[in-house]
Each structure stands twice: as C-alpha cells, then as structure tokens.
C-alpha cells in the first residue's frame, strides 16, 4: 500500500487536523466525535444543511462546508458511514432555529445512522428533515432492494440547496428542492483501477491491464460489468447513454454537466472526457448550460471518472450560480 499516511487507523483524524489547520478561519473541526462546521455556525434563522458519509471522497463533504453550501459535515471512517452521535452533535451545533436538513446518500449504513441521529435530534426538539440522494443509474432500482446509490448528484444538491438556504427558504422548501435536484440528476461512474482502503491494505478489486469496470460506485465496490479498455469517446457513450435514457432528456433541454474525477485521474483526462461529452450532447441538441469538472466526489486514489447530468431550469441555474465559499467549491465570494 503506497499512501502518504502515518497509520491506517489515524487517516481520518490526521486529515481532519490538516483541514482544521488549513481552514481555521472558515471551518471548525471537532475531533471527538468527528464533525466539521462553518465557523459562523449556527446561522440564526437559516435552515442548516448537514451531510456526511464515509471518508475517502474528499473534498466531499468536509470541503463543501461554508457559506452557500453545507453548515456541517460528518466524516466517518474511510468508506464507513459516520455514527449517529456525530450527526447529532453536528445537528445541534448548526441548528439556527429554522430546522436542519440531512442530505443522505442512499447506502444502508448512511440511512440507518442518519435515521438514528434524526430521532435523537427530534428528541431534543430540533426539526429535522432528511432527503436521500439515489442518483446512480448503474444500479437497478426496485422496491425490494436497497435501491440506487447516492453519488455525483449529492455535490450538486448540496450546492443548490445551500444557496436556497442562504435565501432563507423554509426547511420544507429546501427539502423539496433537494428532492427535485435528486429527481433531475443522474450519474454513472467507471474505474480504470481499484482503490486501496487503508485499513484493508490491498486493492478492493483486481482489474487486468486491459480492463475497466463500468458502473462502479464511490467505495471501490465492483461495478456493473467489466469490459476491455476503450477510447474516451466510447467510455463517455457508455456512461452518458443510460443517464440520458433515465432522465428522458431530449433536444432543447438544458443540463448541468459534471465530469468528476475519482481521485487518481488527472485533470487533463477529465477535460478529454468533457470534450467527448460535449460532442455527444451536442449531437442530441442538449445544451450544457453549466459545467463542473474535477475531483469532487472521489474514491481515494481510484483512477476513473463519473458523469452526472442535472436537468436545469432557471431556478436551479440561478441557485447554482449563487455565491459559494467553501474549500472545495468557491465563486462569487
């Protein structure tokens, strides 16, 4: 295992100390239990947004805490959902009296732990709503299964709902908006290499030199199918086609296109992927109104990418454009 770490068991705590030192003025980092809040939290009268999940997806979620996005993030161990006491403490720390929205990615662990936390917070008279993000079209959806994973759309939902909360919209409005973003945003990812979970010490899966895995999640889970390497144009086709189908996008529609790096893929390749996506969507007369390109929801050092498309309307576009000031996403401030 080749990592710039001290000890597999200390990865999250050491990284949090780094985050605390780096963003001292803007973020507050609690070490026991682990959570990160805006330094100016609680913001009175504003709906507070709390998210969280396993670590290893940086900058998500801790890097999205700040004005215009999250009020708090709860980092679990690497690829392990955080525990209810983290979410409870974070929820209490950021509640500004207007209620707290939990943005939860659809994984059994995240769901169960956030549920417990919400119950505990409600016992302390904090109004909590939870919205589950389940945007991964690689997974077949069904009433009888755990359903689809939450992936790239999470980043977009956190940005857009963060902007709405800054406008002092109500908890119900922000939660409804979050559901709307989840409905309109779909994703699919692929990997060229596996990642290595520090405490496991070896790759979660093995891929041949000429193979890639299509439909992976963000935890080194194996994907939908394993196929031979292909040029970027075909990879983009494989990822985008099921999204387009699922969203039933058609000519004249506008989207936000998010090309995400999995952690080990350099930006130069993500721009190549984006240029292929532009061609593909252009050919179907779908307009990319906004874009986001870079490693925002990662899977440790995995090489690969995901594509997320979010159907835009004027409201979503203007909330996307609103100022945001976090370590991971920043503009207009």
């Amino acid at each position: 295992m080749k990592k710039l770490i001290n000890n597999p068991d200390d990865v999250v705590t050491d990284a949090l100390r780094g985050i605390a030192a780096a963003h001292g003025g803007a973020l507050e980092v609690a070490i026991d239990p682990h959570y990160i809040t805006r330094a100016d939290a609680p913001v009175q009268g504003k709906v507070a947004l709390v998210s969280g999940g396993g670590s290893g997806h940086e900058p998500m979620h801790g890097g999205f805490v700040g004005m215009g996005m999250l009020d708090a993030a709860c980092p679990g161990e690497v690829f392990t959902s955080p525990t209810p006491d983290q979410m409870l403490e974070a929820t209490k720390a950021v509640d500004g009296g207007a209620g707290v929205l939990h943005i939860v990615k659809n994984y059994t662990g995240d769901i169960l732990n956030f549920e417990m936390a919400a119950d505990l917070a409600r016992e302390e008279d904090i109004e909590v709503e939870a919205v589950v993000i389940d945007d991964d079209v690689a997974v077949q959806d069904s009433l009888y299964t755990a359903g689809r994973r939450g992936v790239g759309t999470t980043v977009l939902a956190e940005k857009i709902c963060g902007a709405a909360a800054e406008e002092r919209r109500s908890l119900k409005e922000v939660a409804d908006l979050c559901r709307r973003v989840n409905d309109g945003g779909k994703s699919m990812g692929m990997a060229l290499t596996s990642c290595v979970v520090p405490s496991a010490g070896e790759p979660t899966f093995e891929l041949g030199d000429d193979e890639m895995e299509i439909g992976i999640g963000i935890h080194g889970e194996p994907g939908r199918e394993r196929v031979a390497l292909e040029p970027a144009a075909q990879v983009v086709e494989r990822l985008a086609a099921p999204i387009l189908e699922d969203l039933s996008l058609s000519g004249g529609d506008s989207v936000l296109a998010f090309v995400n790096g999995m952690g080990g893929t350099p930006l130069i390749e993500l721009y190549i992927v984006y240029s292929e996506l532009v061609k593909l969507l252009g050919g179907r007369d779908i307009a990319i109104e906004r874009n986001l390109i870079g490693p925002y929801i990662t899977s440790l050092e995995m090489a690969g990418c995901s594509i997320t498309l979010l159907k835009l309307d004027d409201e979503l576009t203007s909330l996307w454009d609103a100022p945001v000031n976090t370590p991971g996403l920043r503009w207009g401030a």
């Binding site: 690829f79 525990t83 209810p84 994984y107 732990n113 690689a138 755990a146 496991a200 194996p222």
Partner: protein, 212 residues
C-alpha cells in the same frame, strides 16, 4: 444452569477476540461484494466495547448489553454499527434488572435483538445479510430448548444453524446492503455480515456452554 453477568461479559470478550483474529478475513469477504471495511468496522467497535467493559462494576445483564449496543452504534458506523448495535440494545431490554438469566430468558432476549435488526434493516431471509445466519440460529435455540435441550446443546444447534445460514448466502443474489448494487454478480460470495453473525453465535456456544 443460569447465565450470569460475568458469563455474558465473557461471551462479548470472546467475540471481540474472534473479531480481532478474523478482521482481515471479514474485510476480505467485504472486498468481494462490498467496500472492504466490515472487519475493521467490527474490530474498532469491539475494541471500544472491551475498553468500556474494563473494570466495570455493573452487574445488570440488560444494562451491560445495552452499553455494548450503544458503544457499537457510536463507534462502528456503516451498516454494521446500527445493526449490531440494535441487536445488543434490544437484547438488553428484556434482561434489564437481572444479574443472571435463565436459558429461556437468554433465548427470548436474543430473539428480540434479532427482531430489532430486522425492524431496522428491513431485510428478509435470503436477502443475503446477517439475518440469514441470525434468524435460523434463533429458531434453533428456541426449538432446542422447547424440546428439552440444555443451553449448551441449544447453543451448539444455534451455531450450526448459523453456519448453515452463512454458507447458504454464497449462491444468493443480494437484495439488501451494499452487495445489492452488484446484482447478479453478488452471487458466489459469502456475505461478510452473515459470517460475523455466525462467529457471534459460535462464540456464544464456545463460552456460554461452559456455564451450562
């Protein structure tokens, strides 16, 4: 022929040691159809549990089991944390206030714990989860005791049933938990949670049968 507070603590300690020994194995199973953390998650949790139990003056079986459950909930995370946490918390409920419990009480409490897991995770038998080991085990204890077996025999039957349940997860296509994302590709791999649940029953059979 009753299970005392020390016996329960002995079971938990024994399982913590088993988890330590099987940490890499459980994580390996979780690599194949999950995210390679089940072993380290449980290990982290049971290390914390053992530390918590260290030098405790507590004598109440129910309270101690609840403490175990709450410690797991706050230290494990993932799916395993709330599920195993619930198991122990719910198991502790009916045993609260007791310094020692009868085999029947123990069996009923375990059953209530497993029901808690089911209520929380909403999984059914054959969804390829820990319930595939837990549910048959609980059935085995109750029916053994009902047909006159002692605790030792009942726990042996339970561990055997859990082992069978665990093995039976291999061909299953997962419907719940992370493995469900793999669809058909989840078949052919033993479920990590069912494996740790078998180990929990096996530890019960190994340690508690001595008291029986």
């Amino acid at each position: 022929m009753t299970v005392g507070h020390d016996d329960v603590v002995g079971w938990i300690r024994a399982f913590a040691a088993v988890v330590e020994d099987n940490r890499a194995y459980l994580t390996k199973l979780d690599s194949a159809i999950g995210d390679a953390d089940h072993g380290s998650n449980l290990h982290r949790g049971f290390q914390a549990v053992v530390a918590k139990l260290e030098g405790t003056e507590e004598n109440d079986v129910g309270k101690t089991l609840k403490t175990v459950g709450m410690t797991l909930v706050s230290k494990v995370g993932g799916a395993g944390g709330p599920l195993y946490g619930t198991l122990f918390m719910q198991m502790g409920g009916p045993l609260t206030g007791k310094a020692e419990v009868t085999p029947q009480e123990f069996a009923a409490a375990l059953e209530s714990g497993v029901k808690g897991v089911q209520a929380r995770g909403k999984a059914e038998l054959e969804d390829k989860t820990m319930l595939d080991a837990l549910l048959p085990a609980v059935d085995a204890i109750s029916s053994s005791l009902a047909t006159g077996a002692n605790l030792q025999e009942a726990l042996e039957r339970a561990a055997e049933a859990a082992a069978k349940g665990m093995e039976a997860t291999t061909p299953m296509v997962a419907k719940k938990g992370r493995a469900s994302y793999l669809g058909e590709r989840s078949a052919g791999h033993q479920d990590p949670g069912a494996t740790s649940s078998y180990l929990l029953l096996k530890a019960a059979s190994d340690t508690l049968s001595k008291v029986a």
